[in-house]
């Protein structure tokens, strides 16, 4: 039995609380990551833990897969996610969050998987798949987190928006600039979605105009 390990780390222009919000905002996976995830179901969720089922396509080996995942916060700086694949494999992921100032943080993900077979053959492929996955989803999440932090500082309120935009008034100078982003879990869900019914990708392809 070989224990495969991959570690990826990147810095982000937002506080770590925004990253936590992003990880617990399950509904975004079939939106922001619509090219990788086809379906997502929240089976149970309370406070900082959740049990979810995901259907996705792995890069490089191009394998369609699904897994049951349990996620919780070990501490304000550490999220742990254990994913049990349908083939019996378990992926253990630790997400370490470190503050690098008021508007910046570092995200370090460590992935571990036990697999039967010789490590010297499996480790390079494991690292390639995980690194690509981390990179691709990071590229999609990064502008989301930065934008979320930007609108939050402008005074954004969930399910409401920006008051000065809606009321067609001028923005009050300095409003919201020092407003910390809370870690309020679970992240509110779309009221129209029935619990456990899941979320599906609405389209396979789109013309992306961009942010």
């Amino acid at each position: 039995m070989a224990t495969l390990i991959a570690k990826c780390s990147m810095e982000m222009d937002c506080p770590k609380e925004v990253v936590v919000w992003n990880y617990y905002d399950h509904e975004h996976v079939v939106g922001t990551h619509y090219k990788y995830y086809s379906e997502f179901r929240i089976l149970a969720e309370r406070d900082d833990w959740c049990l979810v089922e995901r259907f996705y396509k792995l890069p490089i080996i191009n394998l369609r897969a699904s897994s049951l995942g349990f996620m919780y916060m070990e501490s304000p700086h550490l999220i742990r996610s254990i994913q049990h694949g349908k083939l019996g494999l378990v992926l253990d992921q630790e997400i370490q969050l470190d503050d690098l100032g008021p508007d910046r943080c570092r995200v370090t993900c460590t992935y571990r998987m036990d697999l039967p077979g010789p490590k010297r053959l499996l480790q390079p492929l494991f690292e390639r798949v995980i690194t690509r996955w981390f990179h691709d989803t990071w590229v999609e999440d990064a502008p989301m987190r930065v934008r979320r932090w930007k609108v939050w500082k402008l005074g954004f309120r969930d399910f409401r928006g920006l008051d000065y935009v809606n009321q067609k008034t001028a923005k009050t100078a300095g409003a919201g600039e020092h407003r910390p982003h809370p870690v309020r879990l679970p992240v509110p869900k779309t009221p129209e979605s029935l619990p456990g019914s899941g979320y599906k990708r609405p389209f396979d392809e789109s013309v992306e105009v961009g942010y």
């Binding site: 975004h28 939106g31 619509y34 934008r147 928006g161 067609k168 789109s206 105009v209």
Partner: protein
């Protein structure tokens, strides 16, 4: 305030005043030029941040219109995907909005603000603030 700080404030104010004088992009009626018409190509839409307002400009049935590009759900970009059959789908959570009205088709309680717009001198002008007194 220290002398150095007050000098910096004065210099910043003077710079702002010069910038305002030099910018022909604001009309007395409160419309602001935000783009040239050519920016609508090739997608028939674009979005742009202007003074803390994120505006989605698009062409529909031969008319140019503008909506807020900030999804009132969690703040996502409404115009990330090209409009399809008169509907915008927000990138983040697939909230759908009717382009002609800004009405949200996913959640009845949400709506996008429409901006007043005019096309003049090859440019697209938008009124960011309609209620300056409030």
């Amino acid at each position: 305030m220290s002398k150095r700080a007050s000098l910096a404030v004065v210099a910043a104010e003077a710079q702002e005043a010069r910038a305002a004088e030099a910018t022909p992009d604001r009309s007395p009626s409160g419309f602001q030029r935000i783009a040239s018409l050519s920016e609508l190509e090739p997608y028939g839409q674009f979005s742009k941040w202007v003074d803390d307002y994120d505006i989605l400009v698009f062409r529909q049935d031969g008319q140019i219109k503008a909506l807020s590009n900030i999804c009132p759900h969690f703040g996502g970009p409404v115009g990330y995907h090209q409009m399809k059959e008169g509907v915008f789908t927000c990138l983040w959570h697939n909230y759908r909005f009717e382009a002609s009205t800004g009405r949200c088709l996913t959640n009845d309680h949400l709506c996008l603000r429409s901006y007043k717009i005019k096309v003049e001198d090859g440019g697209i002008w938008v009124q960011l603030v309609e209620n300056p007194g409030t």
